[in-house]
């Protein structure tokens, strides 16, 4: 029982803002806000001390007292004058508890409505980031707990195993049966998977598959670790016999020959690698499984009626900096698209991720055409670029969570998955048409209010 620490079955440890978020999660968002014309964008702890900030950061690294007073009165977001700047403040909640503040200020010259929109979009984005991370932590935590538990149960089994040789046999039989059961279960899971594929989004599927894989892999992983230990013991006894045998006239030579014939030296060298590789492999599967996303939120901020064209304009202006940086050209062909009912922050997020994708689709002479129109009871939104295009073999995978074509570590692969989730939530649909070297067109259909 080497390195077997006490197992705590507790679940859902308390998390603060800094446990949830890291600089790489927040800074790109804050940078984008400042890029869009804000003076300062900051995420602070609940006392107003800056955790992350971009723009004109004050020396004391805390929120202006006026903003803090507003936060204390629990009327965040209420704009008051602050020496020639406008500002917005929102409280960040995790599990109902206020854990931090989100602050944006802008020069008075910046349009008030624009600032409000910017804040709304960015805050929705921040909440999505937090939500996804929390989901992942929860899922991972539960998996780890369940795996650890299977491990402990296995150790218990092994203790019983040692009791008698007879039991040994019985147990190996039940083990075989268990393996069969597992295989049957996996087969069932696979069949179910095939059936669900048509209907469920891949994200939801991933969670259930992850769960199915999780138990057997926990099993395999802990068995491998136990096996590693056993092999140590076997090695020791072989070594013991070998050394003792050398002194014995009777069996020494015979043992030596058998030792060579069975290539024990080679096996001893190789077995360690074999097991290590297997453990590494199992570990990797465990990590992949833990990374599959799972939860969905039911809560959403209040929905309201909006004009999709106006929200598209807001999103484009939030991206103005990126657009300038890449000297991309945006062509708008707006038609009738009023009367959609939803959360503007989320809708802007959905557009934002597609536009970002389009902006990264090519290097020069990039033209992005945004077209809207009403078709029956739906608004249809086209976002087309003239970039590299998406290879046919991955076109139906780009909406999967964690799927990214960028280098590992560069994109989280969550952008388009987030868009997909948001659009599905409003019972809309999203499709992509793409041709290599010519560009891609994303077509979003959203049902309008009747």
């Amino acid at each position: 029982m080497e390195q077997m620490d006490r197992i705590d079955f507790s679940l859902g440890a308390d998390m603060g803002l800094k446990d949830i978020l890291g600089a790489t999660d927040v800074l790109p968002l804050l940078k984008a806000i400042v890029g869009a014309g804000a003076d300062l964008a900051a995420v602070t702890d609940s006392k107003g001390k800056f955790l992350w900030a971009e723009g004109n950061i004050p020396d004391n690294k805390e929120l202006p007292s006026m903003a803090m007073e507003a936060a204390a009165k629990e009327i965040p977001g209420k704009p008051e004058t602050l020496k020639g700047v406008n500002w917005r403040l929102s409280t960040i909640h995790h599990e109902a508890e206020p854990i931090g503040l989100f602050f944006v200020s802008a020069p008075e010259a910046l349009n008030e409505r624009f600032l409000s929109n910017l804040m709304e979009t960015a805050f929705a984005g921040l909440n999505i980031i937090i939500r996804n991370i929390v989901k992942r932590v929860f899922t991972t935590e539960l998996h780890t707990t369940v795996v650890k538990r299977s491990y402990e149960e296995l150790l218990e089994t092994n203790r019983n195993l040692a009791a008698s040789e007879k039991k040994y046999k019985e147990l190996s039989e039940t083990l075989e049966q268990k393996v069969e059961e597992r295989t049957a279960e996996l087969k069932k899971a696979h069949t179910r998977l095939l059936q669900q594929e048509k209907m469920a989004s891949i994200g939801q599927l991933a969670a259930s598959v992850a769960h199915e894989i999780n138990n057997p892999i926990g099993f395999i992983y802990s068995n491998l670790n136990t096996l590693k230990k056993y092999i140590g013991n076997l090695n020791e006894i072989i070594q013991f016999y070998k050394v003792k045998g050398q002194g014995s006239e009777v069996i020494g030579k015979e043992a030596e020959e058998l030792y060579k014939k069975l290539r024990i030296d080679f096996i001893k060298a190789d077995i360690h690698d074999l097991i290590k590789q297997s453990i590494d492999g199992a570990e990797r599967i465990k990590n992949i499984v833990a990374n599959l996303k799972g939860f969905s939120h039911i809560d959403e901020a209040a929905d309201r009626e909006m004009n999709i064209n106006a929200e598209m304009d807001n999103t484009i202006s939030v991206l103005s900096n990126e657009i300038k940086d890449r000297s991309a050209k945006i062509v708008k062909q707006y038609g009738q698209a009023a009367g959609f009912f939803g959360n503007t922050g989320l809708i802007c997020q959905a557009f934002l991720n597609i536009l970002l994708n389009a902006l990264q689709s090519g290097d020069d002479n990039l033209i992005i055409t945004v077209k809207t129109e009403q078709r029956g009871d739906n608004a249809v939104i086209f976002i087309a670029d003239n970039g590299r295009g998406i290879p046919p073999e991955i076109q139906d995978r780009i909406f999967e969570p964690f799927f990214t074509t960028r280098d590992v570590g560069k994109g989280t692969g969550m952008g388009l998955a987030v868009t997909y989730d948001i659009i599905s939530q409003y019972r809309g649909s999203i499709e992509v048409k793409s041709e290599m070297g010519k560009g891609s067109t994303f077509v979003i259909t959203l049902p309008l209010k009747k």
Binding site: L11, G12, E95, T139, L142, V146, H211, G294, I298, D299
Partner: protein, 222 residues
Amino acid sequence: MIEYDEIEQRMVLKLVYYGPAMSGKTTNLLQLHDILAVEGRGDLMTLDTKDDRTIFFDLLPFFFTAPSGLKIKVKVYTVPGQVRHDATRKAVLARADGIAFIADSQLSETANNSESFANLEKNLAFVGIDIEKMPLVIQFNKRDLKDIVSEDEIRRVWEPTGIPVFMASALYGQGVLETFRRLVELTYDYIDSRHSLKEKHMLSKEMFVDNLTKVSTELAGQ
């Protein structure tokens, strides 16, 4: 097994909705989420698979501060009811401070109810919780359906145990808040006896219960 950090002035409580598959645990939480005021209540986190069965758990969190400054977080979980998810059930059940057992009133579900209750007893023992001391309420759900166990029969069986029993139709929001309120009351008594919520933190039972069962004004006005 209350998580209490005296220095940080924090307390985390865990309430668990237990019961057989499809008895309406998730529905109870969905309804609570809709009935209760947004203030102090968090998002309901739920895993929606295609066929609505819980695989991991659902979580509805609450947060408020006692007059003493003690921060209290209450996390309400559901377990997956399907038999094969027992490992997950144990993980969710560990360190619980109170349990609502949601039974399915349909006659056809009687065996599943008792099997699940036996499973609860077994798993509580496994995670080291004494069922005798644990705040526990029972809800018989789906009263709106035909072919259900009669209320008389239920009372005859359960009243001798002293465990509070509630009739509910969670799908229509009936009996949901009553069940939850009683669970919260029992949980208060349980914690007060260990951590002097009233004496040390000036948190009365009324305050505690009110904070967790504030009805949304939209509904109250109706």
